[in-house]
């Protein structure tokens, strides 16, 4: 049984980064660069997302000469659904914040 604790800000960032182009396979350092997270934060998030079945992983099949195959990641359907849900919540929260601020702005 799992608890439905809301994901951390960093996890949301990674989920949304992966949801940018959900069909594309991404690698760890690429995600670090996009999100600004360090490897020490990125890999635990990826590991936990994979544990929960939100992330699928594979090893690179077409390997350029002189380097080992990379580990690649993309969201599963469940991961994409969660990313979309979080994205909507984030948008609603931002909208609600704007609505709350409006009267104060009118008063000034």
């Amino acid at each position: 049984m799992q608890r439905n604790r809301p994901p951390s800000e960093q996890t949301m960032t990674v989920l949304l980064a992966l949801a940018d182009n959900p069909t594309e396979w991404r690698h760890g350092y690429d995600l670090c660069q996009q999100t600004g997270l360090k490897a020490g934060s990125m890999y635990p998030i990826l590991i936990r997302l994979a544990d929960r079945g939100l992330l699928e992983t594979m090893w690179e099949s077409e390997i350029p000469a002189g380097r080992p195959p990379r580990h690649l990641y993309r969201l599963t359907e469940a991961g994409l659904a969660l990313a979309n849900e979080l994205s909507e919540k984030k948008a609603l929260a931002a909208k609600a914040k704007r609505v709350r601020l409006r009267p104060r702005l009118q008063g000034t």
């Binding site: 049984m1 799992q2 608890r3 439905n4 604790r5 690698h27 760890g28 350092y29 670090c32 360090k38 490897a39 020490g40 934060s41 990125m42 890999y43 635990p44 990826l46 590991i47 936990r48 544990d51 929960r52 992983t57 380097r67 080992p68 195959p69 990379r70 580990h71």
Partner: protein
């Protein structure tokens, strides 16, 4: 040695500590490091990954796994149950045989309450665990062991309780109430002795070596010695009162 290899060596060494179930992630981090060229970037990446390798997330640890949840709830129930049971004993102690506490002359024995609470929680936790796991045999095992231990404690305590009652006319006449707390402590100690000694006796009876876990054995024997000495001293201290005829014994 090429200094460029040091980050890789660091990560390689850290990955060896990773549990087997996470080995794929160790290989993934190493493969990713191999893509990086700039020394600073490599060091930063390797350092972060080494931290992950040494302290990897536990499986299911992101959202509490079943085992953790089981023990959290089990300990919670055992704690609550022992609190209620201990509360009854404390109530008896405060309202039946402790006029000094009631009148505020003596402090409420919170420390005793806390100690007994801990001991009872320790005893009830495996019983509750068996009940919750739906393992009747485990539950039966613990209930039988605990029941036998409680009976052993009762058999050793009952004669002294009888002596206390029979030899003290002030208790028989109702002038002073019966010292329940004292006999509760006197019962608890042999009960704990029985519980601590049971695994050793079982191993010996099964023909197994008791030296298979020497540190656990040492801790158990130390605990047994501590409680036995405490119980004997307790009896020696209280014996004049049990025998009666000693003025102002406490």
């Amino acid at each position: 040695m090429n200094t460029n290899d040091l980050p890789q060596r660091l990560l390689d060494a850290a990955i060896r500590w990773m549990p087997a179930e996470r080995s794929e992630w160790g290989a993934a981090m190493l493969a990713e490091l191999a893509q990086l060229q700039h020394p600073t970037t490599r060091w930063q990446f390797a350092w972060g990954c080494a931290r992950v390798a040494l302290f990897p997330p536990r499986r299911g640890g992101f959202f509490m796994n079943d085992r953790m949840k089981h023990w959290r709830i089990t300990i919670g129930i055992a704690t609550l149950f022992s609190l209620l049971l201990n509360g009854v004993f404390m109530f008896l102690a405060l309202f039946s045989d402790n006029p000094e506490v009631q009148s505020g002359k003596a402090p409420i024995p919170f420390l005793d309450f806390f100690r007994n609470w801990l001991i009872l929680t320790f005893i009830f936790t495996p019983i509750v665990s068996g009940l919750r796991a739906g393992k009747p045999m485990l539950m039966k095992h613990w209930l039988t062991t605990f029941g036998a231990a409680a009976l052993f404690g009762l058999l050793l305590t009952a004669p002294f309780a009888f002596m206390e009652y029979w030899n003290n006319p002030v208790i028989r006449s109702g002038e002073f109430s019966f010292p329940f707390t004292l006999f509760y402590a006197l019962w608890l100690m042999p009960t704990l002795i029985f519980l601590a000694a049971t695994p050793i006796v079982r191993r010996l009876r099964a023909g197994e070596s008791i030296l298979a876990h020497p540190i656990a054995l040492l801790l158990r024997v130390g605990f047994l010695a501590f409680v036995i000495i405490g119980w004997v001293n307790f009896l020696r201290d209280q014996m004049p009162c049990f025998l009666g005829g000693v003025p102002d014994c406490d």
